[in-house]
Symmetry: C2
Subunit: 352 residues, 2 copies
């Protein structure tokens, strides 16, 4: 099983997701600036994968710093962190990954710089394992929410390709299937970048899962005809009250699910929960390049000169969400209480 | 002003809509079989345009028949009609256009065949004019439903390119603008064939209308942020109870509009109303080729071997529709009464 993000012999190794499904190409990165570039250009994407990749970027950056004392080392490491933080604004895991590495460096400030670099390396490597474990755990827990024979709608890619492996929303689907349930999956293609069509359909088909691609605008009609039993989506940032930022179109899926009394589950590791934000109104939504809308595979599809919008995410208010599945358990309304409880059970930072 | 469909010197002249927005290319057709092919391949599309084009196809077919007596003439004309009827199943206007021509031929059966051909030619030509007049009238009536400063969402293309000219949904927008109101239009790109991006945005930009393209999955988020004041869409078939078949995704727009208390208007000529169907459940929904989903501009975008759905239309139940705008007035619930009333004011068939 190829990991989406890995750390092998001092190199960050990622699947170049912009080449899928036509080609499965691995990219090996030794320079933290290339990690930042891979995040910006979405060679690697998906909130949990971004958290791990950002941490690995810090580890690569640390290795490259030639400083004898902690002061100069940490000051240069802060520049590395700033460059990685500046890549994409919405997925909180990216900041979580960076913060965790920086906090570890600070705590280790009395040790020799070489030892700090080794420890940062070790921490980043452990975050790769941790992410995979979290997804499997989340999948086991969330899988119980689905029933044998269900048809499940998912949006964008919250799969193994959005994490180190296994996936969050697709982890829930895999968890249900591994427990012996038979599922059918409908994958929203997810314009403009088509992650549902290019990534979700690809990775589920590789696993032999029964998956069908639909255009985003077909989900409502399928629900009306009784073809969808549940929706499972990922998250890029979950505010303290449960409001969830996820790929543009998730909000529409949630409104449709409510109108048809279909449950919708958000699946995400606790690292996606941002208790510093009271509600989703405070989440910064990335606006990406118009070319993602106007061109496909280098071909212009839109008329020249007509403006387009391209917000990468939207916010689904907590009241539309049936439950939030994490590796530590399932949160239900009122989310302010349930999320705080889950987020506080042994925070990942406690290890350092 | 170029007409989308016209009849010039015994030739059907259409804009090849598969080439837009890259190229504005006219196609001249002399053979009714090519008319059928142009409908099938969607060089010409949009319910009102299909009605007129189908009638013109019958006129061309009639000209090509070499028969001295009505019996042989009509029998051959029935073959022509069957071929045109078999092109696309959902838009009722296509059948309406054929039926109107066939009824005229029958009524004229005592006349010499050459005279019948001339009369059919004349009727088809008058249907071109009639469609344009109906759209302008519909636009004047519907324009009053929009307010100065409104931001209006539309889906697919129910514009001049879906009719002889001026448009239905876009006719309402043009009507409001011509009465002095300032509007902003958001055009859903409308996967898979992108008629909103390729056609609606193109034709509105040509007219200098303030139009912005969005992916279908962005409409919900815009509504939540208060950016949409009204929705206007076209129709391919309206059942007696007001249930409306229109481009796939229209139902989702209607559910979103209801969830945000935004009015949604269906704009269509009375030829789109099919009183023979009690409800939308009886409307046949065309399933088109998977290649429309898996390829764009000849490039494969989907993984090989994964099934896709491609229903061209969905049905929006009448209870979600604020009003139906026709060239004869505005229908509101209960639609069974209001539509029957509008449909019966001087039916188009009364002329022959």
């Amino acid at each position: 099983m190829i990991r989406t993000v890995d750390y092998i012999d001092g190199r960050v190794v990622i699947i170049d997701q912009n080449r899928l499904p036509a080609e499965l190409k691995m990219v090996e990165i030794e320079d933290y600036r290339e990690v930042a570039e891979a995040i910006r250009t979405m060679k690697v994407r998906g909130a949990p994968a971004l958290g791990v990749t950002a941490a690995l970027g810090i580890a690569l950056g640390a290795r490259s710093i030639d400083a004898a004392d902690f002061g100069s080392f940490y000051s240069e490491l802060q520049n590395v962190a700033a460059e990685i933080r500046a890549t994409r604004p919405t997925a909180v895991n990216l900041f979580w990954g960076v913060d965790r590495m920086m906090a570890a460096a600070e705590r280790l400030q009395d040790r020799p710089v070489d030892e700090i670099k080794m420890e940062l390396d070790r921490l980043a490597r452990s975050m790769v394992e941790e992410d995979e474990d979290a997804c499997r755990q989340l999948g086991r827990i969330g899988g119980e929410l689905l029933s044998d024979g269900d048809s499940v709608l998912t949006h964008c890619n919250a799969g193994g390709l959005a994490c180190v492996g296994y996936g969050t929303a697709l982890g829930v689907i895999r968890g249900a299937i591994e427990s012996g349930k038979k599922l059918r999956v409908y994958a929203d293609e997810t314009r403009p970048r088509l992650q549902g069509m290019r990534l979700t359909a690809w990775e589920l088909a590789q696993d032999g899962v029964d998956v069908t691609i639909i255009a985003d605008n077909m989900a409502g009609s399928l629900m009306r005809r009784g073809k969808i039993d549940a929706c499972v989506v990922g998250a890029d940032r979950i505010a303290a009250n449960g409001d969830t930022a996820n790929k543009i179109g998730t909000y529409t899926v949630a409104v449709l699910a409510k109108a048809h009394s279909i449950p919708i589950y958000v699946a995400a590791p606790t690292s996606t929960v941002d208790l510093t934000l009271a509600s989703g109104d405070e989440i910064l939504i990335e606006e990406r390049s118009p070319e993602e809308m106007t061109h496909i595979e280098g071909c212009r599809i839109a008329p020249v000169g007509v403006p387009v919008l391209n917000p990468a995410f939207d916010v689904t208010p907590a009241e539309l969400i049936t439950a939030i599945v994490t590796e530590r358990g399932i949160a239900r309304a009122p989310y302010t209480e349930s999320l705080a409880r889950l987020r506080c059970i042994g925070t990942p930072l406690s290890r350092y």
